[in-house]
Point group: C5
Chain length 303, copies 5
């Protein structure tokens, strides 16, 4: 995630970080070269004049903008839903910790449970980012559970099972009544719901065909555009075509980036910082010293 | 569902799988032939000049794009809601399994319940895909229930009834207190809600009239378009008309495809893989060996 | 509701059922006659030339399309919310039936409750479609309740009251513990919520002023359009004007139709079929023989 | 709320009630006079020709329509959310009444509680419409509570407090078990949620700046429009400008009206009728005679 | 938040407060100067004619308006969700107060809890506005808790922990049964959810890249526009360009303002007034005298 104070409006025109320019540079250069060639040749291809005017482009441009607008909308909804689900993990972890800390259970046992919640969030991040299943888990979960998790396909679900066992033991020990146990089980269900929601977003992309249609429309549109503009705006064609194609290509690339919000591209969610935040909040509730809060790096990136 | 890594931007322009070209080929060829004929005849029909300019097309084009944009939006909402409901089946199945595995019930009895949850998901897929009601159910449910399901109209609802009976038996056996029973009943209610939601999407299409109006607008628009463009862009008419009609026809076909997301067309939901994922996750919680995860076939299709 | 397999794309261009053509025929004929008159008179009214060009129409056309798009969106949301509420009735009726059938209550008593749920759905349909309050209720509810319902203003709420009394009797008889009773009360609350939601949609139309403004914009637009087009496209004017006005009028008429989704127009919800589905699903859970499933009539209509 | 059967399409073009014409008449007359002046002066201001063409208006028109479309959408969402919250009041009042009537409590005590629910809805309307806090409350609530409510700032919250006390008394009297009490408390929470939601809509308008920007865009656009059109459509300018400005001004005025849906303008919610409906439904459940249902007045208005 | 009665339509055209003119003045002056220069030089740059027409601007203008429309929508959704979350704090605080006041607990103890709820809301505001953690907390919370909060990173979560301890003490003292305790814990969970939601909105801005792309499109568009218009509308160019750029720049600035709705800019949420409202409502329930309601200042601003 890019986290920086909003620069001055002039500065914002020239900022390079977060502008996606590097990612779409080859496409842009291709379109620019094509536009220049069209201007030099006065729109002729092999001595044959390409008879295009701006008319069809205004027909197509609006339609395409509407469809691209929908794509951005759908991508952003996925991004924001993913963020909401991680927010729910923080909220439910806090709720479970609050209730566990108010039980008449030995402090050590409480602490194991609270750290287990951090372990759940960590394992969920590992699964979503396809890291080794047991990254950063040592110290948060019992050794035998870490072992089991190392080779599991659905590791966070196993940790939820373990958290459920902890509750049953408290219940058997008479430290937890049936009603409070139900409520904590409900919070486990909500954690399970957040996990399932993230798996859904990670496993089900936007329909591939939709991306194909939009991609083709955008590229053919920008490739034909210089032929349509050269007769009316002449030498300004490359500038305008690059401007239009930058907007379209960059928005398409951004949609593609936030479509799968669990990746590590600049605009993806900062899962590491989210896990660190959950860790810090629960440790503060335990009364333990806090690790420093994660800060964006020199490129304003938070991973 | 088409599941493939995003190809290079050049490759994406020419990819054939998932481009819907085969499905709309006849329409496209018809429009292309019509455009060529219009160019050859200079827009004359039986020696009578069709007096169309691009003006009315820009009027209609934007309106039509807005209405088509709405249709895509509504179709995608149906698709995504269906996916959410299947996600809820996974989540609630895991929750029920977690709670069942934490009961003081013999392992065999627990296993019957957990596999019954897989049976519910399987029967739900069978109903939504109109397969024989008992496909793949043997081994997951008791024989007499499979028998009953074979001829049932609402098979998954009967399996929920059976799961409810299992809970009552645990309750009678004193292995489950009233509070925990209520919570598990609640999860059954949520499974029932997911089932009802999928039945709703499957049984209630988008208003048919809406499809008719949009279909007509799209086709008449594209059929008249060559007459409107031939005077200004001449020989480029077929290219532009095919480009416009590809975008409109393909988006309409895609909307039609994801409208009913439970089918087996390329962009529909991969129900088989979803059921396999539920099966694997519950078996992992049982500590049993896992079947291999389903992978897309050579055409990147996951069914 | 119109329920038909999607016809071939050529067929879909000429289908008459569900095209709303009959409903907007008089408007369309008026616009067509006006366009022809304008062409014949070369845009002159009483020897005075109406000086309109296409320019203002492209200004207004897009704005109008956006506002109409919003209207369609809002109407469809009402339609789909209504469908969701009826889906909730099915789901909660199944949940209540499942829980009632798992009680240690005599079968006859259980059956009275389950049929009472069908009675609730039937009474809800009667209220929403303004049919006599007791249509089809005989055999589903006790005679004295049918009597009370016959003259009631809010009949389904009275049936919920009766279902609540049934629960209290089970509780008094010791067949239902407090926790399970609470959960079934919750399902009654959800039925009550679905009822209230449907009453809300039925009683609160879209703001009338909105319909007036859109209606006027659409009609004045189409009436002025021939004057704007006749100079540039001449004899093609009537065709184009009819095409534009068909799209606008038909979409406005469709919005008007699904606005109030409980009516009996072709695109309204098939409440009779929904009630029959609830009836069949509950009877299957009771183990009773099922009535045949409702099928669309020769016009593909399901009421 | 305007509640009338949909008039014939011809009639709808000329209907005056609900068309907002009176409210925006002065603006419309101003724009009409300006247009006529522009036509008479051939677009010259003090012998200086205003060099405007239609081009910039098509640039601005679409952008403005999109922003206005968003405003309408946001206003309608507020309107519909407010309606949903009032629907929730009806539903929860019915639920509480159903559960209270099924208690083993003397009829009189039950009746006091049920009428107290009507009192809550009445007090909520009084607060939202800024009427004297105790309007219509006599006979619904105990005298001392009416006294307290008269000078309260948040009257409905005090009535909820009283309803909670009633529950506690039932519980102390042994007529209500802990579980059922919890469920009724939950319904009180939901009433509290509906109250809080309505307060939120009433106290937080759409950002004022947004209204300012849109208002300015609309008015400057319509004031400049005659200069842009006079050269191409001449004497038709006033007609077209009035048409465009009617659509824009009326939609802006309508948005402004339904923005704050609790007022008493024609398109606002019919809070009086809603309260009367809650009153009638609860009295029917009590088995008491019903007051006549509220009907729209001669102007089709329901307050 | 700007809270003022809607001015007369003429007045609204010239209002300065809330028009964002001061904030975007430098940009506007730059664009105005550029336009004037273009008019004076007849579109020539260093004796070289910039060959731009209005055509590409209509292509880009619509696309840009659609993308800006989406941005406004997303920003407003964040604003409104934040307002809903604060509404939930009010509702749940009232619910908890109602239930606490109905317990058989000494009045003083009840009062400490109710004021603790106000303390939670105050601490939440302090965190969101980055004020010293303990601002205004004295008198609302016990001294040692204020001490702990002063140096905490997640202060409101610690206050929730303390509220949970209060509940446990009531439970241990036998003043609260398990069921009612669960319900109050649920309300604490909902407060925790509102807190987590606000942290989510505060910590996760809209993707930075999206702002960059839109900002660039808006500014390049407005800088090039005078070259495109000067040939057709001549001396009117600066007026029209300023009008277009005011709409685009002001909407972009407004989106930027309500994106982060917890700030102290004019259109941000009035957190101080919201906290004061929660304080007043809870004190009214306690039967204590109320502080005066916060009113907007001379500039109609409520902080």
């Amino acid at each position: 995630m890019i986290l920086r104070p909003r620069p001055h409006w002039v500065h914002l025109l020239f900022v390079r970080r977060g502008s996606l320019v590097p990612r779409i540079l080859s496409q842009q250069l291709f379109i620019f070269a094509l536009s220049c060639a069209v201007v030099l040749l006065h729109g002729q291809l092999f001595h044959w004049k390409v008879t295009l005017t701006a008319t069809p482009f205004s027909l197509m441009g609006v339609a395409f903008a509407i469809f691209l607008g929908f794509r951005i909308n759908a991508s952003y909804d996925r991004y924001w839903e993913a963020r909401k689900l991680w927010g729910a993990v923080l909220v439910e972890a806090r709720n479970l910790a609050r209730q566990a800390l108010n039980l008449a259970t030995p402090r050590d046992t409480q602490r194991a449970f609270v750290l287990g919640l951090v372990g759940f969030a960590t394992a969920m991040r590992n699964q979503l980012r396809a890291r080794p299943r047991d990254t950063d888990l040592a110290g948060l979960l019992p050794m035998d559970l870490v072992e089991r998790v190392r080779t599991a396909r659905f590791a966070p679900a196993l940790i939820l099972l373990w958290l459920g066992e902890w509750l049953r033991e408290r219940r058997t020990a008479g430290e937890l009544d049936a009603i409070a146990a139900q409520q904590m089980e409900q919070s486990l269900n909500d954690l399970s719901g957040a996990l399932g929601g993230c798996e859904r977003i990670a496993n089900t992309p936007l329909p591939f065909t939709y991306s194909v249609i939009l991609h083709r429309s955008a590229y053919f549109y920008c490739m034909l555009l210089p032929f349509g503009l050269v007769d009316s705006i002449g030498i300004m064609t490359p500038l305008i075509v690059c401007f239009v194609s930058y907007t379209f290509f960059a928005l398409e690339a951004l949609s593609d980036e936030i479509d799968d919000p669990f990746g590590t591209m600049p605009n993806d969610l900062a899962l590491d910082a989210l896990v660190a935040g959950i860790d810090a909040s629960l440790r503060e509730m335990l009364g333990e010293p806090l690790p420093p809060a994660p800060v964006p790096d020199a490129n304003y990136l938070l991973t």
